[in-house]
């Protein structure tokens, strides 16, 4: 809009810039993000984001907890998909310990990871559409999310903060109606996707508001450290499930959707397609769930069976030590990354051989997307800033930790 030509206006009024503060309490910032924009008319000339409104000192807390006590804190990193964080952390500690978890536990972890990816994307698309004024998609998509909530509640007793994995396996095995439950969920999900997809994919208003907005090129995205759907929307087919497969992801048949332009529309549509692909992975995984335990029998991390605790002194001592002191992890360090819904979720763990982690650093995926946000909206219109923000899916728990 730089070409406005109202000749009658005095010289300075057309060049005066206005600074506008958006957030942290603003409906579109979803919690706690603040951005300052310098406006030239309706065009954003300069922008800067400010975070830290939900800094809860995760990394400091981990240094004061035992290894197992960290798991509930990881729930609250990306609270839209807690299970993926649980899995990411436990996998890192297990790699440091050199523990291979049972096949059954691996398969269930894969299923819950994909379900949390679905949950996360549902809320991202729903909320992004609400910011653009399309409320009904949110109801459709949230109903599907409620279905998954019912399922996670059966699995671990909580809807949102699941705390489901343990170092060495899972909290407990799945319920007998597990298979039927998920099939029901997938059926309802399919319906919700069709409904919301019809409302969004070729919606004129939605397309006008999102296409060509907030473009970030391939090179820029890599330079800014983008991962996950936002990187793939820019056309880089990097997915850790393929690049560095874990939990037998390489045995599954799924596609990695990539975008072409790297705009807001692509980012949201990549998420849409990822939901379908995740549903496909879950369907395949359901066909072959191996039998067996869901917890490793490595006594460094797993509690001994009750007969041993009551029947032998070794079992009793083992139980006592695990309960009183917690797990001991040998001296060393590890960086282990999983493909969380938002991108590469890395845990860099340093252990001094004690009962507490010496240092845990989380590499939060959306932290880097947020750092690029200011640059992405520069040169665009003020109303588009909200559209771009919705497509980045900034989860503040993980952003500020």
């Amino acid at each position: 809009m730089r070409s406005r030509s109202i000749e009658n206006l005095p010289e300075e009024s057309s060049t005066r810039r206005m600074v506008l503060n958006i957030g942290p309490s603003h409906p579109a910032t979803h919690g706690a993000l603040r951005f300052l924009v310098e406006l030239d008319g309706e065009t954003i000339a300069k922008a800067d984001a400010e975070i830290g409104y939900l800094h809860r000192a995760f990394e400091k807390h981990t240094e004061h907890s035992t290894w197992s006590q960290v798991i509930p804190y990881t729930d609250r990193l990306n609270y839209c998909s807690s299970m993926a964080n649980n899995v990411g952390y436990c996998r890192a500690v297990e790699t440091l310990l050199g523990i291979e978890i049972p096949e059954r536990a691996q398969r269930i972890r894969l299923i819950v990871c994909e379900l949390s990816r679905i949950m996360d994307h549902l809320i991202c698309i729903g909320a992004a559409a609400v910011d653009l004024g399309a409320l009904s998609n949110f109801w459709y998509l949230f109903n599907a999310r409620e279905q998954i909530y019912d399922f996670t509640e059966k699995l671990c007793g909580a809807r949102l903060t699941t705390n489901y994995t343990r170092i060495g396996g899972l909290m407990r095995d799945v319920t007998p109606d597990f298979l039927d439950g998920i099939r029901q969920v997938l059926k309802k999900l399919d319906k919700a996707l069709r409904e919301a997809g019809r409302l969004l994919e070729r919606n004129r208003i939605f397309m006008d508001r999102t296409q060509g907005i907030g473009i970030i090129s391939k090179e820029e995205a890599i330079n800014w450290g983008f991962t996950g759907p936002c990187l793939r929307a820019s056309g880089v087919p990097l997915d850790l499930r393929r690049a560095e497969p874990y939990y037998h992801y390489d045995e599954f048949d799924f596609e990695i959707p990539i975008g072409t332009r790297g705009d807001t529309y692509d980012r949201l549509m990549v998420r849409f397609e990822e939901i379908r692909q995740s549903a496909k992975i879950v369907e395949q995984a359901l066909k072959k769930i191996p039998d067996g335990p869901v917890m490793t029998d490595d006594r460094r991390v797993a509690l001994p069976p009750k007969q041993q605790v009551y029947g032998s002194i070794e079992g009793l001592m083992n139980h006592f030590m695990l309960m009183m002191d917690g797990i001991t992890v040998p001296k060393g360090e590890i960086y282990s990354a999983t493909e969380a819904p938002n991108g590469e979720l890395g845990f860099y763990i340093v252990s001094d051989g004690g009962h507490h982690p010496y240092r845990i650093r989380v590499r939060p995926p959306c932290f880097l997307m947020a750092s690029a946000f200011g640059k992405m909206i520069e040169g665009g219109m003020i109303a588009d800033a909200v559209a771009v923000l919705g497509s980045l899916n900034l989860i503040v728990g993980e952003l500020d930790r």
Partner: protein, 161 residues
Amino acid sequence: MGTKDIFAGSVITTKVKEVVAWGRKNSLWPMPYATACCGIEFMGTVSSYFDISRFGAELVRFSPRQADLLIVLGTINYKQAPILKRIYDQMCEPKWVISAGACASSGGFYNNYSVVQGIDEIIPVDVYVPGCPPRPEAILNGILKIQEKIVKEAKGKPDAA
């Protein structure tokens, strides 16, 4: 024939204060101050599955000037605290506050250098909702408790909640 017989069954006598309270109670306009995980559960409460509009509180406002019920959902840290205080001050009387979840009520398990140990250090709170995060039913129960409080205040028992 007295007036009583003419209007039989179609008139209720009450006090103005109580009528106003009845209206307020059934049309609360909440402002969600959602910072963290509890905010996602509030989304669940608002959406069609739990449907907050059954209790007349579906008109979610994001401007404090238009709201009379502040629901604080999530951790409040030192950087956030002044903003929460200001939002509360901007709300018009009468106003009520629900502190939903462990973090807002007491800091939860975040006992550290950054997190405020309960929002009652900053603003007055009417109803505390337990849970980490509270289930949608619990949030609805919190709203019902506020409604009870509104009625009792009108009847002259301000400290009963």
